[in-house]
Symmetry: D2
């Protein structure tokens, strides 16, 4: 679609800016976490809805990318739908992602977010397109 | 739902961490922008899908909050669905939000994102619950 | 919100028109099925995407309504997001719904659809508002 | 993806069962309507959420299909997200669809639904994949 943009050093990306940490990243399951620090909050002191959406996007994208890269394919986000069920004010936000679909052209993940007490706090559905790498 | 959490200083929030700038914030229309800097990108050099989702969430939340606060109400995000249409590698990302529904208990916004050439690059639908302020 | 509309006889509703059958309808789990007949198909011979969306809406609405009615509450659909993973041409479409959230004002269900071979063919997320019954 | 299923006669499809009527069907704009008859209602007497979702799916699918067929392509529904803003009990439901994105591999439509008074009652976002016709 365009000449390759310059890559961004891992410590300068959105994921680094928000303290995202990926733990397990597999083709069917992916998990991670981030601290409920000020930098992921909105002014009223609760975790920003966009932090859940962004984490889900990172988790699903990286997991899909790593699964398809050896076939000369890339993963491109198509959509992200995150529902917010319960606010988080402090502690660690845990994410648990399950791949629900592995098609030829699209993958779909569902990611659950929970707080330190194990309450379900948000759910995301992330859909990605899988395509040949440009110039691949 | 809980004792009031400590507020976060505006320069320490997610919006500050990602360089979000709100411009017009009204009850029917809300606009803003952010620079396509490294801190909103994913490692491959394009703007992270989560940056669009988070910006839409901020824009709709602040606009709704400001419209209902004088009635003793607050706005709480229910869901955020962002579709990614075209990647952005550089320049300024512009957001243009329209309120589509103002109900007694829910508000709904649609936000369009465009790049420096005016191409539509992402669309978000943000739904918020409007409720009495705790202790209000 | 308005004077009570006339109820519709069960054999004249959308669910009857499309052959929907609810099986288990509980507060945490709900299941059902419908035949892949012409009346749920689009012209090319596959099950219409709207049939999955409509079935999910019925299943989640009825299950929520039955769970809250004894408290003088009703359930009102807020949103339905259905993703289509694999076409169905024939046989029985099975739906398996799980309640993911039971809040004071919103409930959220996720519904999986599968074909006769057990393949996952569509997933729905249905969000409902729970409110006092009008005149209740 | 499979041998071609038998086509369904237009008067036997889901669209016929529910009384759907397409009016304008163009590559950028598509409109239609259906009557708020019993067959599109749920038992409480209001238009079933699935009727809005199904109509949006029909409208966007047909409009996209007609726009790409001459290039040997087909349109396949990827997802449908419909939000319900205001109930409809009677009259005609009008749908007004706008194509928001025409990509090489995906199209995206937004459809607004209104009642006889012109109130916005539901909004849908429909995403379709565009692919070479099987055997094309």
């Amino acid at each position: 679609m365009s000449p390759s943009p310059p890559a961004v050093a891992p410590d300068r990306t959105l994921g680094a800016a928000l303290g995202f940490e990926l733990l397990e990243v597999g083709p069917e399951r992916a998990t991670g976490r981030f601290a409920a620090d000020d930098r992921v909050k909105q002014p009223l002191g609760l975790v920003h809805g966009g932090a859940f959406a962004a984490f889900a996007e990172s988790l699903a994208s990286v997991a899909t990318y790593e699964a398809v890269a050896s076939d000369g394919l890339i993963a491109v986000g198509l959509s992200n739908h995150t529902s917010f069920l319960r606010p988080i004010f402090a502690g660690i936000v845990r994410a648990d992602g399950r791949r629900r679909h592995r098609g030829r052209t699209t993958w779909l993940w569902e990611i659950d977010f929970s707080d330190d007490e194990g309450n379900l706090c948000a759910v995301s559905r992330v859909t990605l397109a899988v395509r040949p790498a440009p110039g691949g």
